[in-house]
Symmetry: C2
Amino acid sequence: MEIKEKIRQLKNDSGSHSPSISTLLHEIPELDVAIDACFLSNPYATDLFMQYLNEDLIETNKLRDVLEFYPPQVADVRKHISQATGLSPENIFVGNGAVEVIQAIMHRFVKDSVCIILPTFSSYYEFASPDTQVFHYHLDKNDDFELDVEKFIKFIVDNKIKNAVLINPNNPNGGYMSVEELNSLIGELSHLDNLIIDESFIHFAYENIELFQISSEDHVKSNSNVCIVKSMSKDFGVAGIRCGYGVMGTDKVNTLLSNGFLWNVSGLANYFFKVYASADFQAAYDVVRKKYIMNTLMFLTELGQLKTVKTYPSKANFALVEILDGKSSFDFTMQLLIDHGVYVRDCDDKVGLDGEFIRVASRTFEENLKIIAAIKSIE
Amino acid sequence: MEIKEKIRQLKNDSGSHSPSISTLLHEIPELDVAIDACFLSNPYATDLFMQYLNEDLIETNKLRDVLEFYPPQVADVRKHISQATGLSPENIFVGNGAVEVIQAIMHRFVKDSVCIILPTFSSYYEFASPDTQVFHYHLDKNDDFELDVEKFIKFIVDNKIKNAVLINPNNPNGGYMSVEELNSLIGELSHLDNLIIDESFIHFAYENIELFQISSEDHVKSNSNVCIVKSMSKDFGVAGIRCGYGVMGTDKVNTLLSNGFLWNVSGLANYFFKVYASADFQAAYDVVRKKYIMNTLMFLTELGQLKTVKTYPSKANFALVEILDGKSSFDFTMQLLIDHGVYVRDCDDKVGLDGEFIRVASRTFEENLKIIAAIKSIE
């Protein structure tokens, strides 16, 4: 009971985000967390990156250089990303995590009005300038939170909204807009000042059995209003390093860099992007990406079979799960955490969710089995 | 000759900052840099921090946790800094390096007009909003670049300037304003909207032989217009980690945090601040701080004896050095670099410096001997 109260307090202190696992363990040392299913990342990608880091920096004793000296200015980092993606460096804005890219776009370019889908990642409306009118487009539980592209476009046009945000797949439900639908959306919204597409979870989505990597980054070349937000935290499992980037028109990149964002990439983030640019890492990464997608598909299928919860359709590495047995999401989350050491995201603070919801991340194969067993055991 | 041309190109690409050592080595692998006397940090403090890091994260295999998972939100980090400094967390704004603090203050709070001393760290005028009028107060070479506090105040009052920036000790000359003078300055400029005091190099300054740590952070409690900028990169020798903070009025901190700056601290920066908060680290740090100050004093004294250059008075960990023999600062810098492997800061792009200047950092005792020998050998 005491632990529950402490966690409730920590949750209140964290605003519209859940307390991180490190905060939980720091504040409540008696807590025994075995699995962090709140954290949305590919653990196999972390394994892979750690192999590179151990070989390059730890075994060679070069970690000190990365921590002691100034990292290069962002121009160098843009070259690495350009090499990895084939994009022009002029279209790349490097951020201290995707959240800095979101902040920069929302503060500097989004004016007048913006359309934000609900439920969503809260920073998009929290970082909007106070004088920007936020229009919310609500996804309907009865439609399984699926986005109807035509209705969405009509909503934007009817309300004369100047900017729109799309997270694809969406967080927290994992709903995915196909390449074909997205192409049509971009065409129909070319009159907007900014169309922001957040691809934080796109590496976990797939169009067909080949599981090729999807990205809409190339649209920036022909659509100057498109801004793509890329987080490395989820796909590559390196949230602690804080690295992300945005792909956008050259004029926007130049505006941002003309008076700021000079040394916003740490030595380790620069090292990550160097690794990211190498062909052998990219090849090895694609193997663990596909392994994790298949692992996640199995996990989501299993979740879907459970009778006490409803799992909504997702093409991301997590699922939005509704609790059907009358328990509150907080009590359900606490039971999972305290009795089973499984930490999931209680969604009771998510705006636009009517009901009792948790968000459950896919982790390793072995961990996923334990998460399923833990959810099953709760009556 | 070819190396010289490549470096000239890199310098041009770096704007008003010099290319970092990692950029130099990446672009010109044939270069043999033995000593980075461009980089303004205490190497003994890096040694100390690396001891902690090796023990806490490398030997225990906990580095992965710091890189994989989301760092805590800034509220936790503010608690660490509060513990280390005795300041209230409400007055602390954590930045991804001091440069993010500078950017936030210049973009969000500095309006109308600002007084910036020349020569200076260029980000202060580069990050000013385009609609802010920048007044430059010029330090005079004939006064050894010493700041006359009364004249400085008169300049601000006469021009009805609304904001002012003071770097203490100043970069690039190392001129220091004493605690007594600063107290009087703060009193006389209490009508300003913001008085920004950048203490990036304050740990290397001293008032008397006791070498106690100086800070004006406490002024924030009674002067709501004072903003203190703290860089950890120089004092603690951890520029690659990117950690800094600002001390300012609660209303300013709340304004900044109300729509941004949520996860701008990496896992390693959070780890640094945890170490920084511990009493045993603070005690050990003060020993290496004093050792480095004495080391630097000896170095600056030696530099002052050389006949081919003039060394200006400094209470920072570097000196502004004028080349008297007719050589350009670029040629002098190149000779030091190519013939002796010593990289110093060519100041030919520093606005407000009339003449041929380099800035030379104090490094370890052994490195300083080599720097002196290299400068001596140039005819």
